[in-house]
Symmetry: C2
């Protein structure tokens, strides 16, 4: 059994924590100094439910770093090697944030709310300090702060149905990675909240940027009362689903030791763009020595060592690992060392009963190309 | 029962995690993205043992932010309102770190290792991003990074005795908040590690800045084998002890919403110093509206609300709370709102069976002045 988590004011609770507890949360992690549920029934039961029905996730830990003022675009662009010069208002952008050496600081969803107002919906590091440090050091005309916003995610194939019952048919017009303010009626008035079609799963759904704790609690309750026949449940980002879908986790799969090129995020980097980005010079010059890849390994292998080898030589390390009940195999994200690996795809993994062979591939997993069929 | 903690690569393990688990850790928190034990037997049993014997703590989560180069002093001084212009090599300094608005970013122990090399031994926020952001933005000639250092604390009244058995009599010459490199003999050679007389308790002891994982594991084992007759045990920062001793916790007692003046840290701020510090202008101009104080309340009160009131008006909030078995009362750190509180010291706290009265005081607690006697 895992040890308990000691909860204090420092491991911040959210407006939804009492509801998450009442829904039977079994385990938490701490993410951006805040509670994040990791399991309700079991990883596997939570997974199947997410893939078949609809879940409401308290992802308040996706803190918003607000960047506002005349230099807002300049600061956001400095932090990322992705070209945002043509970014439109009302759109979301997955952004690698990198330091001057080209290493990963965070990988938020950036939201452009107006020409002078951006939010960074962050992974687990204090981007507010990085952004404030840069703004202070460069004397930028910008305000950087963490507003009181607690996102709720509504995820799963029935998410659109549930959301339209609460917010009306207009949610159907929000396209993927678009965001717009919607009005939510409360007992005492109405609240305008930003709603995006997004979320940390590939099962479809929305994220609601709750900016009023009381209205948010009413919203949570309404999502459950109106979704009873849809089998709505409290949920959370799911290890199995994110591995199958190729969703990377900062701190697990990448971090200060990894460039976005090494993490396989080339499509979010504009090496040739004429933009003022801190990390572009380093990234343009970089010869990656590592690469994040997928690994498929037998479901029976009881893995005892995080290291991948070929003929006894270390060629990589396991960063995230889980069992896929859909395909009946274990899936992992592994950081491979390019020099010793070369173009070989068969690697050895030490297990409690000897050595098992695993198969490397590019991410995201292409299950058909791997010859894997759904067994459930 | 508290929920479980999901442990992943992101909630970093340490070189000592397997030993902490073998010692029977019951609960963890996550601190600087790393595991930190919070309880072994119980808060109370751990407390008495710490006050009477000696404990070894895995405080690897006290990450070091290394700041090296010609501009190292300049950057450290910019981050703090404490005057470091006369700081000597080989000394430790408790430092409030503040932003340009004078709010708390962190409260590390700063260590001056040489004229151009400082370490910040940090509380729970990503100071490495703050320092790198400032250095990048200002173009400072300095390297900022988080080295592979995992501090071990040896705490308790028998700490000096145990440390001298392992490192020799020379540890007795290290005075409070002094640090010096000591040689540790391993099976394969010797390792030089910085050792300070410091630690997050008032029971006396040392912190060893372990810079070699294997040597550290041998050191852990040696501390236990040589301390058996001293009843050495694995331990961790203890809630009861730190409340009694008045040790503040970032994220619990203070943070971005608090200035060091409001947290009662005046003695670490040099308002009149002629130094280049980002926060001094704001702090000089500040009229504090809040103040962190101590609260003593009946041991029977089952507190149901974090808010302090006087005649129904809110005058403060509880930030940390615990039962002191030594004095038979509950102790809390509370953030008081100066305008409604005035100079009143008796406040109401809502409890499950009505209202209990609590008594405010300055920190650290002066138990004799409060009329409290040890009952155990």
């Amino acid at each position: 059994m895992n040890p308990q988590l000691s909860i204090s004011r420092r491991t911040r609770s959210t407006p939804f924590t009492s509801r998450v507890a009442a829904a039977g949360v079994k385990a938490y992690t701490v993410y951006n100094h805040m509670l994040l549920a990791t399991m309700f029934e079991s990883y596997e039961a939570d997974y199947w439910h997410l893939c078949e029905h609809v879940q409401v996730w308290d992802v308040s830990c996706e803190r918003q770093v607000a960047i506002e003022g005349p230099d807002a675009y300049r600061l956001v662009q400095l932090m990322t090697p992705r070209n945002l010069s043509k970014a439109k208002v009302g759109r979301c952008f997955y952004l690698p944030l990198c330091d001057v050496d080209g290493n990963m600081v965070n990988d938020p969803i950036a939201i452009k709310l107006s020409e002078e107002q951006w939010w960074l919906s962050i992974a687990d590091s204090d981007v507010v300090l990085w952004a404030k440090g840069l703004a202070t050091g460069m004397g930028l005309d910008v305000k950087v702060y963490e507003p009181d916003i607690w996102p709720l995610a509504v995820q799963g194939p029935k998410a659109e149905q549930l959301m339209s019952r609460v917010f009306g048919e207009q949610v159907k017009d929000i396209r993927f990675f678009q965001i717009q303010p919607l009005t939510y009626q409360t007992a005492t008035g109405s609240v305008s909240m930003q709603v995006a079609r997004s979320g940390w799963s590939k099962q479809g759904g929305f994220e609601i940027y709750v900016n009023d704790a009381q209205a948010g609690q009413q919203l949570w309750d309404e999502l459950f009362s109106k979704g009873a026949d849809l089998q709505v449940r409290a949920g959370c980002p799911n290890l199995i689903e994110r591995l199958e879908s190729g969703l990377l986790s900062l701190g697990n799969d990448m971090g200060y030791d990894t460039s976005p090129l090494e993490a396989g995020l080339e499509q979010y980097i504009d090496l040739d763009a004429d933009i003022d980005s801190l990390s572009l010079p380093a990234l343009r010059a970089q010869q990656p020595t590592k690469r994040l890849m997928g690994l498929v390994i037998d479901s029976q292998a009881s893995i005892s060592d995080n290291v991948l080898t070929i003929a006894g030589e270390t060629v990589g390390e396991i960063r995230s690992l889980g069992y896929s009940p859909r395909y009946g195999v274990q899936l992992a994200f592994v950081l491979c060392y390019l020099a010793p690996l070369g173009n070989k795809l068969a690697v050895d993994v030490q297990t409690s009963d000897g050595t098992h062979q695993g198969k490397l591939c590019n991410l995201p997993f292409d299950f058909a190309a791997l010859g894997l069929k759904a067994i459930k």
